[in-house]
């Protein structure tokens, strides 16, 4: 592309070196290796690709992966909003500690998280034994997958909502209150519209992460065919049968999904930024 039409004029130096390096590094580390997924799946017939991505067990795994990720995302949104609200608006002892703990799922190795969650939620675990008395089974059921994915997704929502809540203008709320709005009305008409884009971003991030999650889920899911097999596990299963083309076909489906999700997130973020600036 021609320099002038492509880039808007700017006096700052270093665009071309920085831009070229970015594109080169991105291509070498991410794009070229990722393209191998598509090229490898293209080495086989359409029929094989279609059979690989639409066989009953794979479709069941999409249902579980998407279903559990969406449910976990929604739980994360509800719990994450509450936690972000409390962390931003209220004062209580130990608040810095609580705030620091939020990022733990992000830094804890997923396999460790998986083992720890499984020992907590099996029928004789610390939490599982009480749930078992209520007749609720968590480990080795779809519910277990939801628990693991909520653990993974929660920080994304909290960290998206927190800055927006902290920046939000409390004068607006006070104005609404002085005009006679109840606290509930203030919440639904003033606060919620303000954080909605951030909640969406957090939800989408949590979803994108949850769809691909492997380490923390395989321990707690039980891996029952048609019931609790997640999509990444089926990729591994295909590889075990030396079916690289089938494995990469499923991987390609996941890649396209997460690319679309991330694109949505970036558009949402741009919109919310414009929205904030417009105010």
């Amino acid at each position: 592309m021609a320099g002038t039409g492509f880039k808007r004029f700017n006096v700052l130096p270093g665009f071309w070196p920085a831009f070229s390096y970015t594109v080169l590094y991105l291509s070498l580390i991410v794009l070229i290796p990722l393209s191998a997924v598509f090229l490898k799946s293209a080495t086989t017939s359409w029929d094989h690709i279609w059979r690989s991505i639409s066989s009953p067990s794979v479709v069941a795994s999409y249902r579980l992966s998407f279903g559990a990720s969406i449910i976990a995302g929604l739980i994360s949104v509800a719990a994450g909003f509450l936690i972000a609200w409390v962390l931003v608006r209220y004062e209580f002892p130990g608040k810095p500690l609580a705030d620091a703990v939020v990022d733990l799922p992000f830094a804890l190795p997923t396999a460790v998280a998986g083992i720890a969650l499984t020992s907590l939620y099996t029928e004789n675990g610390w939490v599982g034994q009480y749930l078992a008395k209520l007749g609720i089974k968590v480990a080795f059921t779809p519910l277990g997958v939801v628990v693991a994915l909520t653990f993974i997704g929660l920080p994304f929502v909290i960290r998206s909502v927190q800055p927006v809540l902290a920046d939000s203008d409390q004068e607006l709320e006070e104005a609404a209150a002085s005009l006679g709005a109840t606290r509930w009305q203030v919440f639904t008409r003033v606060i919620f519209p303000l954080v909605r884009p951030a909640l969406l971003t957090g939800f989408a991030l949590a979803l994108a992460r949850a769809l691909g999650e492997y380490g923390s889920v395989i321990f707690i899911s039980g891996n029952m065919p048609m019931k609790t097999e997640i999509t990444p596990l089926l990729i591994v299963n295909k590889l075990q049968q030396y079916d690289y083309a089938g494995a990469t076909a499923i991987a390609a489906v996941m890649l396209i999904t997460s690319f679309l999700l991330l694109l949505t997130i970036n558009l949402l973020q741009r919109r919310s930024r414009r929205f904030m600036e417009a105010r």
Binding site: S55, P56, S57, T118, S119, T122, E123, N124, G125, F140, I218, G222, N223, M224, P225, M226, L233, V236, N237, K238, L239, Q240, Q241, Y242, D243, G246
Partner: protein, 332 residues
Amino acid sequence: MKLNRFWLGMVAASAVFAAGPLKLLNVSYDPTRELYQDINAAFARQWKARTGADVQISQSHGGSGAQARAVIDGLQADVVTLGLAYDIDSIAERAHLLAPDWQKRLPNNSTPFTSTIVFLVRQGNPKHIRDWDDLIKPGVAVITPNPKTSGGARWSYLAAWGYALKKNNGDDGKARDFVRKLYKNVPVLDSGARGSTTTFVQRGIGDVLLSWENEAFLALNELGKNKVQVITPSVSILAEPPVAVVDSVAAKHGTSAVAKAYLEFLWSPEGQEIGAKNFYRPRLAAVQAKYAGRFPKVQLFTIDEVFGGWQKAQKRHFEDGGVFDQIYAPGK
């Protein structure tokens, strides 16, 4: 760039290592960790005594299929010691790293030890599990790994199938029904044999674990005799986990001779005895006699007899859309 310099460093480092002691990499399946720890130490001693040279053996363990795939993708294994012949066949077929007739090069189908599938139950056997028929009773929770990812689980699946065939005079439909009922009683399918043992013993899930015989006895010793006990069924499958030198890799490393000697050591009286101590059934009659008390008598059938070999069994039962997938299909 940085990375380039790093690779140069790696190449230089490997050149330095090459001048040091002989190195072997044994890529093996999951339950052999303890066995090869002992074997490696004994062989290194013997090799030093024989040739005066040091040999250092590294281990890699994982699911048999995953390990075979790693070798196909370039893991530098001098020898492979896997859970089933099908996996070594795959290495020969897909990566041409060893001759297709590899299994004829060493005695006993290249299998230094045999094993079988037994049951591990809770102490006192509260559910009264004595034989395969007890596994399909309602309310019995059976723990076994996923046959699609675990070699041991495939042996278990085939053992159950073979038992049902024998019992029903070769009626294939009844065998299928038996296996379907059995898997109905399975609440969790781990990806590997070790995962299942952990689920059963450590997490206390299930009433019975289908397990390699050596794995069952090891679990008994490691995790407590007061918690679990081994039950040997009336009939089971003769499991033959084979071994082979990966010719091309060993030739490139210049380790062909030591790799061959390493595998032959497994058939020596010392190697056989180490195997027996680790609850693998030995091949040598003398060692068999010495450890007869360790291994309960059980009627064994082979995979060739009942299923016509691994290639056929794999294709019919474990491929995508095969019998194992079908028994999990909804509405059946």
